[in-house]
Amino acid sequence: MKYVEFLSEAKPLLNLFGGKGSNLIDLIRLGINVPPGFIVSTNSYNKFLGDSHLRDQINQILSIEYTQKDVLNISEKIKNLFQKSRIPQEIIYEIKDALYEIWERNPDKISFSVRSSANVEDSKEFSFAGQAESYLNNQTLEEILKSIKNCWISLFSPQALLYILQMQKKKKNEKKILIDLKMAVIVQQMVDSQISGVLFTVNVLNNSLNQMLINSTWGLGQTVTDSSIIPDLIILNKDPFEIMKIIIGKKEKKSVPNPKGSSTILVDNKPELQNKCSLNESELYDLYNLGVKLEEYFNYPQDIEWAIKDNILYTLQSRPITSLKLNK
């Protein structure tokens, strides 16, 4: 297919599938349990921009000098242009085909996560783009198409425009970079997880290479990354495996799929779960093994997002820990 590729059949190509997408393809090839799905490649984004003449219009908007006071307006203007433009039929056909293939294999009701994957490696120069937009719990083709468009639009968010201004202040000429970025979009079966979180294969609090750090909570993992709760904090010793420290968080709320669809909601957590550690020893051991394997494979400490549903561990993302200063 020209615009859409199944994760299990694709090759990791940064320009076509973005950083996060290529990384997931790598994980699947390594035999890691990654939720199945497909990638809407940067070819789709390019065709959409070209067919709708959006590229020229955005270039024109961004060519006029702007200040921080203008970014909300400019971002809104570009967002409206995206929303008025139609996704080309050829792309919709391929997305539909891919979805039907997944639906055929899954008689039960399933929902999808839609995540952005820009064609930049995770690095601090691009942390606005590396900062993933995720749209969870999409159930229909219409919802998925809308979320794909929202991922594309996120390249021109107020934060991204402010970021470019900040770079200009520092006399780096980065003005046209937003329109040069390409966005792939990952559509995956969503893991409606009971437990989720992040795993760093070094202890990022003190940079100890012989320790791992885990943040974990009940429900979907976005409450950990967006700081809407205080997750549990667990420090493991790496060699040999040992649980060194468990600090129970304040898990008053948890994120769950909205029963009405197309979003997630925060609900109160059961009182008996708020002060209970969200991971048991055997789950910690599984995470430890995942961390050891991925760190060895990528030959660098990893920042891993994971989820557990019905005792099965899923890997949602693995990327290098960007802040480490290692003498390699």
Binding site: P158, L205, N206, N215, I230, D303
Partner: protein
């Protein structure tokens, strides 16, 4: 100097002081855009990724929730500035701290401590 809070020290262990700015919305970030230099920002819920554009100007970040794996902690580490997550404040009204001079120190273990400079 009065101790007003303690939480998880998630990034650089350097001692810093500066004016505290309470950030709630992207509009607050826009208003701070030209004067962010040397400030310490405190946020108290989700949506704080908006701090990223001014992070290179700040000397510290603080959040009343979250932990080492939160996005704010990750980007603060990338910029090498001290970051206290899940801070427990002894002062309930965060807005009353807006504009006050504060200092961040570390206890040598995993905790970051926030002081109000009198």
């Amino acid at each position: 100097m009065n101790k007003i809070g303690e939480g998880l020290s998630c990034s650089s262990k350097s001692e810093v002081d500066g004016e505290l700015v309470y950030i709630k919305t992207i509009e607050d970030v826009i208003n701070l855009f030209d004067s962010a230099s040397g400030k310490i920002c405190i946020v108290d819920d989700a949506g704080i990724t908006t701090l990223s554009p001014i992070l290179s100007e700040l000397v510290g970040t603080i959040c009343t929730t979250g932990s080492a794996g939160s996005h704010l902690a990750i980007v603060s580490r990338e910029f090498g500035i001290p970051c206290i997550m899940g801070i427990k404040l002894s002062i309930e009204d965060i807005a009353s701290l807006n504009g006050k001079r504060v200092k961040i120190t570390h206890d040598g273990k995993d905790n970051g401590i926030l002081y109000l400079i009198k």
